[in-house]
Amino acid sequence: MSTAPLELVCPAGTPAALRDAIDAGADVVYVGFRDQTNARNFPGLNFSRSELRDGIAYAHERGREVFLAVNTYAAAGDPAPWHHAIDDAARLGIDAVIVADIGLLDYASKRHPGLRLHLSVQAAASHADAIRFYHEAFGVRRVVLPRVLTVAEIAKLTPRIPVETEVFAFGGMCPMAEGRCSLSSYVTGQSPNRQGVCSPASHVRYEQRDGGMVSRLGGSTINIFGAEEKAGYPTLCKGRFKVGDFAGYLFEEPTSLSTGEILQDLAAAGVKALKIEGRQRGRAYVSEAVRHFRRLVDGLADGRPTPDAVTALRRLAEGQQDTSGAYRKAWR
């Protein structure tokens, strides 16, 4: 069976990663500016204005596209960095901006009526009424679905909304509805919505204890690893905690989302585009993930199975473990 090819939307934290992703077969690369206007506001990451201009040129020469994530919430009293991000992206010929904030959607739709708006996952629009609302109010043309829906729910949703859907296909995953989580700011004062960071490295400490390793965030123990275990980064919701008799990964295991095995189901559910998470990842990781997904997506479009690409993606997954996450109902 042959289906319309899924669009492959790939991350880039640097200009080199953008070129690698394009060369590896990305249809679209998404990026952010080097400030708090995007949800991967990490040191050494992201694009200047001139780097974005060059990146757009590199993509357009090859028939590909670039999206800009402006997906944090503008600060009270100082919307200028967010407005400038949208104005500059429009001026540089961006193919779409990815936005979550109602105030910014209003600004972008009025100031740049021709600019293509995508609704960020950070808006957590998880059902038809919410998605229609953003379409009718601001002309949003695509929604990035929050990582809370099953494939069956997505299949019911897509025919009822007047916009394209993009879903997360690979990489890190939040167990919480995105854009509605203050766990990081409760513990560190730094939030995804405001500062574009979660469980920031500035608040992380590792401590050797009894042959193992303790990882802490803001002074609190997020995990204790045995000598035989690989110590992972203390992202708050991926830690081990105790509740009564339970001790373990209460919110989510430190696994990576992978959809290699369910791409056909996602395509059949009416999904338009697949998103690979990981603007903070290195070039090698991004280009490998993109290359395998390119083969998966092309194989699916041609009706040709590519099980070796699924296996290769599993090797790339965090901690060698992967999960189809909320796409299967049993996850809940």
């Binding site: 105030g103 953003y134 203050s182 766990l183 509740v243 919110f251």
Partner: protein, 308 residues
């Protein structure tokens, strides 16, 4: 702006049995010095069938006690069934001439231009979002709990509608499709056995080193600490905030509301409120870090800084 600060009582976030809710709201109706009471199961649609049969009586009881009732909508809507529940709630609110508190933006599409309240689960971080929502006929907006005081000050100065601040109770920090109460009991959400009902104040989550860290309430993750803004409420009022929300906990909420009432009328100071709350609190500790621009779990003994 409002002549005097008003206290509101947020929706019960925990899974309390229906008979307990009836008793709780009877006392609130007669004794609690709050002007506005929000009602509704906003955390989990599986709990709603237990609550809905007693709601009409609770509404009637509260109205007889002189309270303004607002129906709070679900914070995370995922299924068709949940969408229909929101639509039914909106229809019920219209039939009873009550306002809805919108906690998921989808409800706004069904609702506007009816007057409504925007709840703390809608991301309102700046003036333009505030202005846009006000133009859709919001009559009051409860700001997200993670906003710092300087942002609140700016929003209060710019807001065309009254603002409300989450002021007391465990903070709702995150919501998920996954049920953590079920998971902690080795169950899935579909067969959860309503284990969240055993924890009327939420269930404390400890770190592996034994630190009380967070709390779970079904699909919701909450603060371990209990928010207490008594130290800054008068300051926030002076900056234009007129409504202060007390979120129900498993303690004497009539007494809690009484302490805040005395505070806003200048009869007692913040230290006396804090002493009183500590006696009522069943061992919960308090925090106010977000309002001071710090980590939410911190407790800062200071006045609000000037906006920068």
């Amino acid at each position: 702006m409002t002549a005097a600060p008003r206290l509101t009582l947020g929706p019960v976030l925990f899974h309390w049995p229906a008979e307990r809710l009836v008793d709780f709201y009877s006392r609130i109706a007669d004794e609690a010095p709050v002007d506005i009471v929000y009602l509704g199961e906003i955390v989990c649609s599986k709990r709603a069938p237990f609550v809905e049969p007693v709601l009409p009586d609770i509404i009637e009881r509260l109205q007889r006690g002189g309270k303004t009732v607002v129906l709070s909508s679900r914070a995370l809507v995922m299924t068709d069934r949940e969408s229909r529940m929101v639509a039914d709630q909106i229809a019920a609110a219209r039939a009873m001439a009550l306002q809805i508190e919108v906690n998921d933006i989808g409800a706004l599409r069904e609702l506007a231009p009816d007057p409504h309240v925007v709840g703390p689960f809608i991301n309102v971080y700046n003036e333009s979002t505030l202005a846009w929502l006000a133009r859709q006929n919001a009559t009051r907006i409860c700001l997200p709990p993670e906003l710092p005081g300087d942002a609140i000050t700016l929003l209060a100065a710019a807001s065309p509608v009254p603002l409300e601040i989450f002021s007391f109770g465990r903070l709702p920090l995150a919501i998920s499709a996954r049920c953590f109460h079920a998971r902690a009991h080795g169950l899935h959400k579909d067969s959860c056995r309503y284990t969240c009902g055993n924890d009327p104040d939420g269930r404390t989550v400890h770190t592996l080193d034994g630190e009380a860290f967070l709390a779970i309430n079904g699909t919701q993750t909450m603060s371990q600490t209990c928010l207490d803004l008594s130290g800054v409420i008068l300051d926030l009022f002076a900056r234009g905030i007129g409504h202060f929300r007390l979120s129900p906990q498993n303690m004497d909420m009539v007494a809690v509301a009484g302490l805040y009432r005395q505070l806003i009328y200048g009869q007692i100071g913040p230290e006396e409120v804090q002493d009183g709350l500590s006696r009522l609190a069943n061992g919960l500790t308090f925090s106010n870090g977000f309002i001071h621009g710090r980590e939410g779990r911190a407790m800062i003994a200071a006045r609000l800084g000037d906006p920068h």
